[in-house]
């Protein structure tokens, strides 16, 4: 899933890029409205994070221009002024959500995941990602969630990709290279530590006992494997 981040403050732009990449998104960056429109045409992103006050063409104008071609593209506005957000909502520019500065990582993730869920829901009629079972965990890829005994667990796009891959290759060893290629992307520099850390964090959330994992099992020297014992 590709996200276009349009923000004139370089540090915020790069910070958002880092958070979203970590979540499993591809990103394209624009530092003003004109570049955002240009990248929108060239890269066809799945959704936009759009700062309102940018030099040249501002966020309102970018949104209006994009809406002329694509009324459904999810757009999340970013602003320091709640008055600007009020204006966005008042103008009915079709904003899907907004993030008010100063924001933290958790808030960004919550908003982005919410928009992704809606985005996936919109595409359901063409490529519906089906729920699947891993041990006693029901994974709902379309909702970026998993469920166990009525308890809901939030998942990132990358978490879903990892679980989908392991489920598809159930009973087989999924090596690190494949995991990187499918879940991080080909342009990502493979790093064992990154992968191990991610799997470790994911286990903490989805396994009943992370020390005795039943969903993501380690195959020493090879990779990871999911065994569907009931099937």
């Amino acid at each position: 899933m590709k996200v276009l981040i349009a923000e004139d403050d370089r540090n915020i732009r790069l910070g958002l890029e880092e958070i979203l990449r970590e979540e499993g998104y591809q990103t394209v960056l624009a530092e003003d409205g004109r570049e955002a429109l240009d990248l929108y045409r060239r890269e066809a992103p799945d959704f936009l994070c759009l700062d309102i006050m940018m030099p040249g063409v501002n966020g309102y104008d970018v949104c209006r221009e994009i809406r002329r071609h694509d009324p459904d593209l999810p757009i999340v506005f970013i602003s320091a002024k709640s008055e600007e957000i009020d204006r966005v909502l008042g103008l009915e520019l079709g904003a899907d959500d907004f993030i008010l500065k100063p924001f933290g990582v958790r808030e960004v993730l919550a908003r982005i995941r919410a928009v992704t869920r809606r985005s996936i829901a919109r595409q359901r009629h063409t490529e519906a990602p089906r729920p699947f079972q891993m041990d006693d965990l029901e994974v709902l890829p379309g909702e970026l969630r998993a469920k166990r005994e009525g308890q809901t667990i939030d998942l990132s796009l990358r978490d879903v990709k990892i679980l989908e891959l392991l489920h598809r290759k159930r009973g087989q060893v999924v090596d690190r290279g494949l995991l990187f290629d499918e879940c991080w992307g080909l342009d990502h520099i493979p790093n064992s530590r990154t992968l191990d850390q991610h799997v470790s964090q994911l286990r903490k959330r989805i396994e009943r006992d992370p020390k005795e994992p039943r969903i993501i099992r380690t195959v020493h020297g090879a990779g990871y494997r999911f065994e569907q014992e009931t099937e």
């Binding site: 915020i12 958070i19 320091a80 009020d86 959500d97 008010l100 100063p102 933290g104 908003r111």
Partner: protein, 532 residues
């Protein structure tokens, strides 16, 4: 301008003007009374002069009557002739010392002429009752002459007497002639009071009947007595009166005096008051403009702080996630950066909310959220700070369903309350939070959140004031503790905007217990956090 300030300005202008007006009216009233008194005194004096003129005329009349009575005689024919020819007197009488009438001859009624009979009928009460002798007796022993008045027929009748040996000679005065002579002696109105015009002088008898009047008036009906005196004896039953439709000349005299003395002073005072009001208004407007500029500056700075603050917070959180709790020391340091930037975010949010409240620009953004999630997020932000101060958190959260409310407002309200526990009630070592949802018959819901601590509590005398902006409890409690003093005020304002309130509830044991209520609409089907 705010209505209260307008009212204040009006009071500042209107009050002195009202006082000046009242004083002016009082001075004018007093002045009028004094003038009225003076005019009345002047009129009385003038009426006395008229009285003196009447008295002089009467004296002259008396002399002429006395001349007619001489030479004194008891001769019947001579007296009859004298009575017939006299213009001043109607009839002459002669009494002997014991009071018996020698003339007219009452002893021989057949000898009386018709005019003598009429005269005796007119004067019967004088002779029958011995009134004349009594009157003569009452007068000084040395008095040789005197007057006697009595009522008969059409009014006051008069007779003049003089003693001659043992006899008393009497002349019954021709009333009409006397009145004519007296009137002829009266001065003109203008002579009486040249400075007063528009009045009338009246000569009246004892019954109030006007015998004579002079002077012209425009409005007869509005005529009022301005001064009255009784004439001196023997006409003391008569009176002189000055009547006028208005206090003569008073209006012009008063208005003139007022215009010359009071009005310039009054105008000066009014000018001063208006000048002061204008100055005050200008100063006040300038101060308000400057205050607005200061607020705008703080507003602008607060907004500008948000971008660097976002970077500090975001990168600290990214680092924290990357560290993944492996390096405890680094995690602790990053925790400090994150929690302090969150604290700064809350302060900025409070300043901006307060500023919006001042501009009546506060509004809510309703979203479908699980209120307990908001409460947990707030507590999560405070966890490092609470834990550093050794405050345990006890939770009893029971709103797991989605409601339509403004999560930012709820977070800000509860954040301020939790921040107060952290700052002022750390010694109690406990923060208790409870939440619940009450369904109302209208279909709306009301969520409540209780934030309770075991700190020193709020002194009873301060409880009513802690929700006022910038008010900070002045005690050891707040000494050395930072704060802006707007947290509770903002929390209450936001809660009220949200159809609820924040109140400090009575607590029997130590500590404080704040109850937050917010109106909300339960959401049937769960939806994502889109703006409502």
């Amino acid at each position: 301008m705010k209505p209260r300030l307008t009212l204040l300005l009006l009071l500042i202008v209107v009050t002195p003007l009202a006082i000046v007006g009242w004083l002016g009216a009082k001075i004018v009233g007093d002045e009028q009374d004094v003038l009225q008194h003076r005019v009345s005194g002047l009129m009385t004096g003038q009426l006395r002069a008229v009285d003196a003129a009447i008295s002089t005329a009467l004296d002259a009349y008396q002399q002429r009557v006395l001349e007619e009575m001489r030479p004194f005689t008891v001769e019947r024919d001579a007296l009859r002739k004298r009575s017939r020819e006299s213009a001043l007197s109607m009839q002459f009488y002669v009494l002997e010392g014991a009071g018996k009438l020698l003339y007219p001859p009452v002893d021989s009624p057949g000898a009386l002429t018709p005019s003598e009979r009429e005269a005796l009928a007119r004067t019967a009460q004088i002779w029958d009752g011995g009134e004349l002798l009594a009157s003569v007796g009452e007068s000084e022993a040395t008095a040789e002459t005197g007057w006697k008045a009595w009522y008969w027929g059409n009014g006051l009748q008069m007779m003049f007497w003089t003693r001659e040996g043992q006899r008393i000679h009497v002349a019954e005065i021709n009333r009409t002639r006397l009145l004519a002579d007296l009137i002829a002696a009266l001065p003109e109105t203008d002579e009486v009071a040249p400075q007063l015009s528009g009045g009338r002088i009246q000569l009246m008898d004892a019954t109030g009947t006007v015998l004579y009047q002079w002077g012209s008036v425009k409005n007869e009906e509005a005529l009022k007595t301005a001064a009255r005196i009784a004439l001196r004896a023997p006409l003391s039953a008569w009176s002189l009166e000055y009547a006028t439709a208005e206090a003569p000349g008073i209006g012009s005299v008063v208005a003139g005096g007022f215009l010359l003395t009071l009005l310039p002073a009054l105008l000066l005072l009014v000018g001063l008051v208006l000048g002061m009001a204008a100055y005050f208004y200008r100063e006040q407007s300038r101060e308000m403009r400057e205050a607005a500029q200061r607020v705008s500056f703080v507003n602008q700075v607060s907004h500008e702080l948000k971008t660097p603050l976002t970077n500090i917070r975001m990168y600290a959180e990214i680092l924290e996630r990357e560290a993944g709790g492996e390096d405890e020391r680094m995690s602790r340091h990053l925790n400090v950066i994150v929690s302090e930037s969150q604290r700064l975010s809350r302060m900025i949010a409070n300043v901006l909310t307060f500023s919006r409240g001042q501009r009546n620009a506060l509004n809510l953004r309703y979203q479908s959220v699980v209120p307990d999630d908001v409460l947990r997020t707030v507590l999560e932000q405070f966890r490092p700070a609470l834990s550093a101060r050794g405050i345990d958190v006890e939770l009893d959260l029971r709103i797991g369903e989605e409601c339509s409310l403004d999560p930012d407002a709820l977070g800000q309200i509860v954040g301020n309350l939790v921040s107060n526990v952290e700052k002022y009630a750390a010694e109690g070592k406990l923060l208790r939070m409870e939440s619940g949802l009450d369904s109302l018959p209208s279909g709306l819901g009301r969520i409540f959140v209780v934030v309770e601590d075991r700190g020193p509590g709020v002194p009873a005398r301060e409880q009513a004031r802690i929700f006022e902006p910038f008010y900070r409890v002045n005690s050891l409690l707040t000494e050395g503790v930072s704060g802006t003093g707007i947290g509770l005020s903002i929390s209450r304002e936001l809660a009220r905007l949200h159809g609820g309130d924040v109140v400090l509830e009575a607590k029997e044991s130590g500590g404080s217990r704040f109850l937050v209520t917010l109106a909300c609409r339960p959401v049937a089907a769960p939806t994502e956090g889109r703006p409502a």
